[in-house]
Symmetry: C2
Subunit: 279 residues, 2 copies
Amino acid sequence: MAAGVRGSGGGQGAGQLTQPRVPKQPGAGLGDDLPPLSAMPSACATCALRSKPVFTDFTPHELAFMEDFRVGETHLRAGEVLYHEGDALDLFYTAKTGQGARYKYLTNGDRQLVNFVFPGDTIGLQGVLANEAAYTVAAASDMVFCTFRRTRLNEIFAQSPDRGYALVWITAAEEHFLSEIIATLGQRKAQQRMAWALLKIHRRLSDLGLALGDAVPFPFRQRDLADALGLSLVHTNKTLACLRPHAQWQDGILRVTNTRALSDLAMLNQDQPPPRPLL
Amino acid sequence: MAAGVRGSGGGQGAGQLTQPRVPKQPGAGLGDDLPPLSAMPSACATCALRSKPVFTDFTPHELAFMEDFRVGETHLRAGEVLYHEGDALDLFYTAKTGQGARYKYLTNGDRQLVNFVFPGDTIGLQGVLANEAAYTVAAASDMVFCTFRRTRLNEIFAQSPDRGYALVWITAAEEHFLSEIIATLGQRKAQQRMAWALLKIHRRLSDLGLALGDAVPFPFRQRDLADALGLSLVHTNKTLACLRPHAQWQDGILRVTNTRALSDLAMLNQDQPPPRPLL
DNA sequence: CGCAGTGTTGAAGAGCCTCAAAGCTCGTGG
DNA sequence: CCACGAGCTTTGAGGCTCTTCAACACTGCG
């Protein structure tokens, strides 16, 4: 059913996310030749994400705290793995630019893509708390993450109740989204799933200001979407073909041309969620 | 596909969880004729849940804080609804005794059971933060919940960093479990799903000390399990029949007689998770 | 007794998976 | 320069899993 690459230790461009050769990817182009973890001079104060309407504002105190709490940045090339399922984690992250995915393997090699990783998403928290990463995280395009240290996690709660509250909010929002995914996998059939997924993806990326007209960058392969929706690659392809009148996806660009048709198909009412905190 | 009862406002025994007439249920028998929300004299100090090995210990400070933070208890009869998807929530809860479920509806009436609610589970937090319940919660047996007030949520973070940390842990653990469900719905076929679910259910309830030999109380209907696993009722029935040599479920009692066979089928390695916090 | 909810079983058909193969693009090496 | 291979997309055909429809048995209750 799935690629079944597994393991391999996270070497250079190991192709965990079926993106083996292309060193650069449109829509993410970030600094070249940077060390994997470098303390950058500027940080949260100038972060472009914070000003997006989807995110709530920081208080000055929160901003100061995060500036200090942040360890640095982690850079990933397309195809590289941030960490593997089962790894012990000393760090956790907020995605800043680029796109990736988190996925789990079954013992038979099948892969389930749990969720895509878009800018603003915090990942690795569960792994930090339980001392073992719940899933593998890999980059589909070049990515930049803000990095935080596990051992300082207590400081959040001790020094910045606001940030502690934000952390619960972020985790609870993720839980909510996963429950929607469960409903989709459990109740919708292939075309509905696909319509639902394309809409959700398009919406999430649009909210981040990544849309150009009706197009958003989506640098994945059909296999990735197949593993996300629990469909075979072949059937994913055929389903995409069916929906081509309403949405086109090629060369890493997703275009939704008939939102209404898709949301009818997906049985989804698109209501604007309230702004959420950013870590 | 599903029952499609929806709405009805949470009246007496409205049968949201297909449990319409039976007023009492084995395995949960709690006080009769109690008002739905009553401040009980004793509380956390004597709570039987806290001493279970699955849960981490409270510090004296945490215990004192929770005693004060707790508003009271909420009692539910089998079949009653705690709250509906979309409701604005002023309270959130930790299940104390009995069993229930959280589920979502699609616009066509299909229902997805997102997760079962067992003692120790905290629910409603997402609803409190986002000001709208993400799913409906209903009781399958008589239930008792500890009740907390939304407006005092900040106090957790301001006054008890330990409890704030615990809250993140609890939410992250739930997120992790939902991601396992996603992998199950996306990658496993009917028999594997069923084996996986029966094992997980049995394990969770055993860890809570609810097992008598190889039997645990599980007061649901086949329809509930069908809606949880994304299978039709008919196929759920037939799949259960297939697994009958390894697990029997009747009259609200689930018995797992061949754990090994089920875990092989489910491709699941049952490792003991670390103790988790309780709210 | 009739009725409603639940569990069970059979049969037919749809949806999706698997197997197979071909076209495309891009990078590599002769 | 072109041939070749690797990875991705696309298409077709056959078959299995699961759904849907239908019917019947059992239970507890009005």
